[in-house]
Symmetry: C2
């Protein structure tokens, strides 16, 4: 089958289309999926650069949509349209998907849209509700609001709660997208200090939950923006990993919770539980169009390196997709 081969020449990672991959072998409780679309994730870029391949799969790609071609499952028989996380192997014509990770893909959504859902929506759902324990009466600050996880998080908060949504982004265009999806307070971080806006808008109280992809460079402003009993959920360190001078007294006095998390390395069992709850809560909302995957751009499989470069540039609004079998 066709798939993207990852190799290294003088420590430089190279992604190239190779037609000679063997078909992956499915076990019980797994589906073999003819992949129609896969999505690019930051975890792929990290794996490529570090050579640390999650779950040891030499083919990158942690989410796909497609058609089931081998199955023991009555819920997902052969011919079913599915989307879901995979343990690597997404940049390929065929991929193995754990039954627990499979979600039905509505006829109303294209395969490209299906591939744009699992990773960002599951991450947003998990961080907002499982880790952040966001309640309807609360407020949330979503950094990088126009990113994949950001756009998913705004929609989930809007559709599942009545919490007030603050977002940051780098341009008026990105903020307009966030506004369309349901964000209440839009902050251009190039123009304003987000912690000052939050102090003003919340009359000094702060927000209850922050979803942060930025890390070190936002640390002090994040802590200043949290309310008593606030939760800072760290899911990325685009702004650096090293914080100088953390004052623990702030954490005690404001009773702050900080949770670091990554979805990809978690256990199959965890992902299956998350997938099940998410799918039950959101299936109808995708059918009715209240939730929608946001796609920035679609590349052919052989154009994968361009797709990676686009993600690296942080210029995308929403997901970057690979079309596989066309």
């Amino acid at each position: 089958m066709k798939a993207i081969e990852l190799s290294y020449v003088e420590n430089q990672a190279i992604l190239e289309l190779n037609n000679d991959f063997e078909l992956p072998k499915r076990k019980t409780n797994q589906l073999l999926v003819k992949v129609e679309a896969a999505a690019i994730n930051r975890t792929d870029l990290v794996a490529k650069e570090t050579g640390k391949l999650p779950k040891g799969n030499t083919i990158l790609g942690v989410e796909v949509s497609g058609i089931v071609i081998e199955s023991d499952s009555k819920v997902f028989p052969c011919g079913s349209r599915v989307m879901g996380l995979v343990n690597g192997g997404g940049y390929a014509e065929y991929a193995v998907m754990n039954l627990g990770n499979a979600m039905p893909l509505s006829e109303k959504l294209s395969f490209e849209e299906g591939a744009a859902i699992p990773e960002v929506f599951l991450t947003a759902y998990q961080t907002l509700f499982w880790l952040g324990e966001l309640k309807s009466t609360e407020s949330v600050l979503i950094h990088a609001g126009a990113s994949g996880v950001g756009t998913a998080a705004i929609q989930l908060v809007k559709q599942l709660t009545s919490a007030k949504i603050f977002v940051t982004a780098s341009s008026a265009e990105k903020l307009e997208l966030c506004h369309t999806l349901g964000a209440d307070v839009l902050i251009n971080y190039h123009e304003k200090d987000f912690s000052e806006i939050i102090q003003q808008e919340t009359v000094g109280k702060g927000v209850d939950v922050i979803l942060d992809f930025v890390g070190a460079s936002y640390w002090d402003k994040n802590l200043a923006s949290l309310s008593y009993d606030g939760r800072l959920i760290l899911i990325g360190i685009l702004g650096g990993a090293l914080v100088k001078d953390v004052n623990l007294m702030n954490l005690l006095e404001k009773r702050i919770t900080i949770k670091g998390t990554l979805l990809t390395p978690r256990s199959d069992e965890y992902k299956a539980r998350l997938t099940k709850e998410f799918s039950e809560k959101t299936k109808m909302l995708f059918e009715t169009g209240h939730l929608k995957p946001i796609i920035d751009s679609i590349f052919l499989l052989k154009e994968v390196e361009q797709a990676h470069q686009l993600m690296k540039s942080n210029k995308n609004k929403g997901k970057i997709i690979l079309k596989i079998n066309r």
Copy 2:
């Protein structure tokens, strides 16, 4: 009534017995308690030094035991023996206690023992189970194992779970007390690096929960001692508040949760919920002697300054108590 007056001479706090305090006034849903014993807490020392009095009560003291002398409650009628948290006012002959904070004091326990229970056992219960979410199959590291909260935490873990208990303390004598109460692995932090012992004992896995009173000076070793999905509960900063160079990548990769907390400033409603659950789960265990308050020493009310100095020296094993009405 008699109570301890807090005043300042040249910024130096002075605690003195004063016979001319007015009796505190009780509201609906409050009890007036004739105080028999009160306990010293670190929060009292902080309030004294900073002049920031929790809930604005000018008399220190956040926990007492005694006899109800005014009440509308059928559960705690006049004459009932009670123990519980108070919003300041504990270092006095009479104190007002919210009904939600009152717990029945068994005839099998003395008033001194009763005053030694609420703050440390509620703090330990809250941090271990509500914040730390400790499960029976897990492991916990309790720093300052011979302190008030430490001795309560060891007993609660031992009696309510089958989790493995690691403790640190500064002397063989303190560690022996921890062992008697149920600690499994004893670490003298003057002699050994606790993170190395934990790596050895858990075969590199780490512990699931850490209760820490120390803060900055233990930060790196605490993070190194936590397992994947581990929780660090920070309830004190005896070893400093300022941590240099925090690496957030560690938090993400190991999916670490850090929670800062203080009990005293929390809402009455929160304390009432905590008191109710704790009392239901532990009442019989105090009756049968499976749980026991650990008392280091008992002072007269007028000796309060000596009692504070003892706590400041960190030499106590268990609680420091004030006898009030004798």
